[in-house]
Symmetry: C2
Subunit: 660 residues, 2 copies
């Protein structure tokens, strides 16, 4: 089996998700958590091979990003107090709309429900009209869900209604809760099984809430992302980096999301491993010193314009061209997009199933400059697995404003610059007596006036001798004369430039990536489709070597023990399978575990120390001394050497061991 | 500085915890979480060096235990449903007693408060009597707390009262909430600052609670330990291991504990990293095949008897002797104790500050067979850092009983055995009509009767023709005649032995171990006590090498770049310090980071490629080609070679660089 043969086998035998899942659960890559107790939706445990696979991916991630780029890793707590997530916007906005069935108590996610019901009606309409509905490629998110609508009824719709439905569906991601409620009323959308009426949509915050400390008074949440801990440590990290930018922090850890109705296995879970990078840089200079090294890399892009034109045809060009043409906003964003590509393909993502999709205007937060998702194609559709966003100075700004702590970079200017700007001075001793408890609010308001506002107010103050303001959270109007404030245009020489850095954030959902690699690595042997193989790259395979003594004969045991000892010393993960079943069966079992190498120990081995090495995908075999075989395994697994190169000094060995 | 010199320096200069903490925070090993927002007690973030240090320790742990012993690693969710923790006993028993000040709302941990107040009064009594109170070595837990009692008043107590206080203090760990409340009333213990009365003690469960899913109906907790996930996956793990025992599972992850008032830095926190092993074995055979390899290891034990005699003098003997004499219950427990010792000393624990303390009868859960804690001595006293318990079959039994799923090992017997035992048969069709909804309870009760009960009831049934039982949760008495049940002694040939395995559980608090290693590694240079050193073993040091170009001269940059490239390729973590300050200062800064090697690049390096290598502890220097120096670093760091051996082919180099 060459790589081409595997591609052919994959193309010839349709992908069967049930079969893959049965292998993954059977070999305990993962399983539902607490299933002895009936299980909890959206929670999964990784068993030994899943755990080793995850650890290898995290290890590669750490070397590829943190070590290679000299990032500053931090490990922050998952418990997060309310105020932090209030500032970040999660308390107010990190929610989905849910509707409850008054009778049964069943809960639905409103947007998913409207979408599904209208789609089912449209399908029913087509059936009633006798139109064979072509299988439209469904959106990733839709495919991923188990359908609530169980039956399609062939009912014809009025032409105008069908058109309205189509329009609603095109805008489905953008509706507010009230709008979704109105749609449900207008189109009479209730419980799709019973037809019962549902309560109007309510916002359901997706964070898990808890109380910190014995009094119960401190509200806290489990973090929904690892980013906030990094932002809050900005000043310490900057100091650690001797005050210099650009630099990046990174964090690997669990985050949580209380999904309304999680489905689709590992893709939509309530507790998940993330790896996030926050790259802090000068807003005036988003170039990257190592961009040159990656700019030749060709990638598959789905830019905003293509999507707006209703197409899913990717644009293939180098990242150099993409940045040059401003399709990708800047070099640093482009650099990370390329590094994400390198990481994903290293760990076994099929690059024909990887695309970078740009966020549309309405998907992106208002502060974001640009955002690209690495999407991986799976049987559930295209799945967002890595986000890569330029978040501007948003996060540091909101935390600085809330806490009144500066989160800035101070850059010593080589040549001092003259800066002319409007400045406001407050006669602070007058504020307390006049505004009492409101004084801090009024002062903060005045000190935050923009240059334009200062200029305008300077003129007003000069002409009227006083100014009036409406200050948020202060009841009556604020009136101030020139005893309270002075506004002047001044020129100063500045030796230091002070700025809030921008942040570029590559954010990885490790669990989703793992699932995609499972699908991309999976195929069945054409000669026997019940025999599944997971063709992981050796570097990420949970176990590298299976040691297979030909039989339980006691003469073989010392050779097995000797080779085990060497492998253990060299820290090459291996397993011994000395069960009684045939060698072919043992290899077949290990193909399902994705173990790239098998070493057979036979009676020749006892005599001359030689053993047979089998390669998982091709089932090719070579023979040599245990020492040379282990060397080949090490070179191929850890040093990126090919099978041909790594085994060129070993003897080819022909026997149809796999069918034994 | 030799190892002996360091020991001398440590002995000569008293340990200063404030100085260590200032280094740890200053170099961002760790810091309080969310301090921009005022911080949250008991939550800490690890900065870059702390994070790398933790990652190295976890990596060594994984290799030392999981890889070396072929354990089955699992990664289970932190979110845990209520029912699981109800069964495990955590919902009912994982709590401390707290009292609230009615006026101020301040909350106290009851046992700590009683203990502190009585101790303060006894101290005051001694002062009043003019007795110079000798500094008794305080228990670890006491030293660790910041005192609530701020002032000691010299008030004489009646002799009888003083004696009562002493007796209470001796039993302080064993009181129930009601008893603590009675003590507080009897001895008039209130808020130690204001004297205000406190509410009676209430149990405060230490688990963080949350709700899973949108309805809020499913109660859940953050796990207080990683063990339950491993127990619940027992059947899958056994199958993964081809049905064979013994085998061990292992898990590394965060756990949570909502401490009433966390103090003492990294030692008592609300979110912490654990590494736990569950070794499942045959209750009839607790031998260990590799015990032979460790039995010579000498350890410092504090067995139960020594503690009961009021002594803290350790018993030093080999683990072989300890198991032989039954001081340690069995070989497998002894094997793990030795492996814990090996792990701790590898990562930098000072073995003179390590002891194994056996749990006293009242400390140990009723089901535990034996339990030993690895305690590490710190400035807070002796701290429990690793527990190693034989938990018998408790955990699997309770989960099996609750879920009605078998959690057993089936061992094929080589020679079938005849088993004679009492058996009960139920005429099930009669139970439904007679007991209706209670039928399952009655049946379960009867099927769970012990051999002794069956024997007794067989006789009664024979003599009286009927039996009566009181069945829990069934209101009226149950009466059954011999139409309902048959009880007979039968002999059967069994080919399979079925048993619930016992569990030996080594459980590591990684954060506590890390803090102890910080203390054990810390010392100051005698010539300048402001210069601190963290003498981490190279293998665990966050960064292995500091590259120090002599100056910012542009000629040096290419050499620095070249060496950086090699180090990066070899995955040896390093930092470049090209800041303007003197070399001595730069090395001093890195001694605080525990970086074991410094490489100085000077103008000779430009000419001939040679560089200087400095060793952190001794400040010894050698000179050689960059290639040879890197080889020495690699050998010493990763292959356990000594400095002398690793540098024997390099030229000694003498210059007092550290005072530059």
């Amino acid at each position: 089996m060459t790589v081409e043969d595997i591609q052919k086998a994959k193309a010839a035998i349709p992908f069967n998700r049930e079969q893959l899942e049965s292998v993954l659960r059977g070999r305990f890559f993962y399983g539902p958590s607490f299933d002895l107790y009936g299980g909890v939706a959206g929670l999964y445990d990784y068993g030994p091979p899943g755990c080793a696979f995850q650890a290898n991916i995290v290890d590669i991630w750490r070397k590829h990003f943190i070590l290679e780029e000299d990032m500053l890793e931090v490990d922050c707590t998952m418990l997060t107090p309310h105020d932090v997530l209030k500032t970040s916007g999660h308390v107010d906005k990190f929610s989905d709309w849910m509707c409850k069935d008054k009778k049964t108590g069943e809960i639905f996610r409103a947007d998913h429900l409207v979408e599904e019901v209208l789609e089912a009606r449209l399908k029913g309409d087509k059936e009633a009209r006798g139109v064979v509905s072509e299988e439209v490629e469904e959106s990733d998110d839709k495919k991923r869900r188990k359908k609530k609508v169980k039956q399609i009824k062939a009912v014809k719709l009025e032409d105008a209604v069908a058109k309205e439905y189509e329009e609603v569906l095109a805008k489905i991601d953008g509706y507010s809760g009230t709008e979704l409620g109105d749609l449900m009323e207008k189109y009479k959308i209730g419980n799709p099984v019973t037809g019962d009426e549902l309560e109007p949509p309510k916002a359901f915050n997706l964070m898990f809430e808890t109380a910190i400390g014995p009094s119960g008074a401190m509200r806290g949440f489990l973090r929904p992302e690892t980013a906030q801990g990094q932002f809050l440590n900005f000043n310490k990290l900057l100091e650690f980096n001797n005050g210099k930018t650009p630099f990046a922090s990174a964090s690997i850890g669990k985050s949580f999301r209380n999904e309304i109705s999680p489905r689709a296995g590992l893709l939509r879970v309530r507790e998940f491993l993330m790896a996030e990078i926050e790259h802090f840089l000068d807003p005036l200079d988003k170039s990257h010193p190592k961009f040159e090294e990656v700019k030749h890399i060709k990638l598959s892009f789905l830019p905003r314009e293509v999507q707006e034109a209703g197409s899913t045809e990717p644009v293939v060009k180098t990242i150099g061209e993409a940045v040059e043409s401003k399709m990708v906003d800047n070099e640093t964003l482009g650099y990370f997009i390329s590094r994400i590509y390198q990481f994903l393909t290293t760990i076994g993502v099929d690059e024909t199933k990887l695309r970078f999709r740009q966020h549309m205007g309405n998907e992106m937060a208002h502060y974001a400059t640009d955002c690209w998702d690495a999407e991986l194609k799976t049987s559930y559709g295209w799945i967002e697995c890595v986000g890569c966003a330029d978040r501007s100075a948003y996060d540091l700004t909101v935390h600085a404003n809330k806490t009144k702590e500066k989160l800035v970079v101070r850059q010593k200017l080589e040549t001092p610059v003259e800066v002319t700007q409007w400045e406001i001075d407050l006669t602070k001793k007058l504020f307390g007596p006049k505004f009492r408890k409101d004084a801090p609010k009024v002062e903060a308001f005045l000190l935050n006036l923009s240059q334009e506002e200062l200029e305008k107010n300077a003129a007003l103050l000069k002409s009227d001798g006083k100014l009036t303001f409406t200050v948020p959270e202060v009841e009556s109007e604020v009136e101030l004369d020139d005893k309270f404030i002075t506004i002047e245009k001044r020129t100063k020489v500045e030796h230091v430039r002070e700025y809030i850095p921008n942040v570029i954030e590559p954010s990885f959902g490790i669990g989703r990536i793992i699932y995609a690699v499972f699908e991309h690595s999976y195929w069945s042997r054409p000669e026997d489709t019940a025999r599944s193989v997971l063709s992981f790259p050796p570097l990420v395979a949970p176990t590298k070597v299976l040691l297979v003594p030909l039989s339980n004969h006691k003469d073989l045991a010392p050779v097995t023990a000797k080779i085990s000892k060497v492998l253990r010393k060299e820290k090459i993960p291996f397993k011994v399978d000395d069960s009684g079943v045939s060698i072919g069966k043992r290899y077949s079992r290990n193909d399902e575990l994705g173990t790239p190498f098998g070493v057979t120990i036979d009676f020749e081995s006892v005599k001359d120390g030689s053993v047979t090495l089998r390669e998982r995908d091709s089932t090719k075999q070579v023979r040599g001394s245990a020492e040379d075989i282990i060397k080949a395994i090490r070179e191929i697994t850890y040093n990126g050497v090919t099978w041909e190169e790594g085994t060129k000094n070993l003897e080819p060995f022909v026997t149809n061991i796999d069918s034994e």
